[in-house]
Amino acid sequence: MAFPEAIRSIYKSELAGIRDAGIFKEERIICAPQNSEIEVEFPIGAAKQKVINMCANNYLGLSSHPDVVEAARKGLDHRGYGMSSVRFICGTQDIHKELEQKLTTFLGTEDTILFPSCMDANAGVFEAVLTDQDVMIADRLVHASIVDGMRLCKAMTDTFKHSDMAHLEEKLQLHEKARVKLIITDGSFSMDGDLAKLDKIVELAEKYGALVFVDDSHASGFIGKTGRGTHEQCGVMGKIDIITTTLGKALGGASGGCVSGRRELVEMCRQKARPYLFSNTIPPVVVSGAIRVLEIISKTTERRDKLEKNTIFWRKGLTEAGLIIKEGETPIVPVMLFNAKLSQDFARDLYAEGIYAVGFFFPVVPKGQARIRTQLSAAHEMHHLEKALAAFTKVGGKYDILHKTKQEIIDKYGM
């Protein structure tokens, strides 16, 4: 079948619209293993440049850790490359069960089921455990994959204002008669780096007989005293009914995700979650690497402790330099620039200084809240952060935004 010009032109024009709106996404080519220092080709065809990576989700610096790479290699040797089957036909190996058990222990839950990604976990879980007699009440800033998963589910939807516990309580009262009420939130919000008030959410859930769902993708492995996640940080281990998380960020960074929580809810996912039923699970090589990751971080908190120190240094350094950051305690540190073009120009100048960070603007973040999102890693050494800080200070000076208020920056550059 040909691809007629009339149809091609529909897509050409749509793509031109995306370019004109200034939201066309381009990939930067990394010519090295993922790490705190990488070699980047950007734009495609340009000379490769060595830069300090300030935008990876490699929070624990385990993406290219030699022990993890070695474990993955052994996994490849002992369990092969692919499964050529979904889990319930002939796609479950001993190591898949071992990883699920290790995640259950690490997260402090009753059971765990692996998914090809956390996006898939979020796509499958709601439909598997809820019906049209139930209600999902979500924080308004939850991740896009949760929004998609909720769309696939027949339960009623409602939302509460971001981290607004009074508003959540109103919604729990409004939907008091629903069979199951599920409160849905991210643990650590990926754009602002703030944490959900899980202690308060659990309190309200207990008061109104609701269940709690947390996507802890930006927390598992490093938030909390021993890195178990937002539920550890908030003192509610064992009280979260459903945790979804990813192996694609701190936990080795390759791919894969899971639903972990109450035994019956996990079992419902095994019976009904479509991304689990109709897609291969995580390949043996990744499973083997992830098992090693959990062994490393269960034995010592050294890496999350280093990440915490790096985060404190970075937040303090940026603030003292006179930049405006989103307050918080996580290694997601947004540097606020408010104006979309300024965020792009700032990122480009940082790149020229050897610092790789990306500007985010509408529609990824609300209008007038453009920013550069920086993310710390345990793979960052102090000299990386000192160099990055010097670059942020230099570029901030160039645009004359140091020690300026939000209003002064907006007056100068617009929203």
Binding site: R140, T159, K161, L174
Partner: protein, 83 residues
Amino acid sequence: MSDLKNIVLNYVKNEYLEEGDDREVDFNTPLISGGIVDSFSMVSLKRFLENKYNIQIPDAKATPDAFDTVNNIAELLKEFNIQ
């Protein structure tokens, strides 16, 4: 009628605008197609109207179009003899 519209408008502002969101919202502002009320949150508006006026709005009538402006909502409520 304008009392009813003001009640609905106030609810929309309190329920759907975040603190610091200074968008102008009036009786004709597109709420759903304008991105102020997303489809996930529409249920609150429906429940608010049902509780406030002691009515049941059938799902078939609670369409995004019927809820898209305060004026449209007022028209819908007329069907329930509420003015």
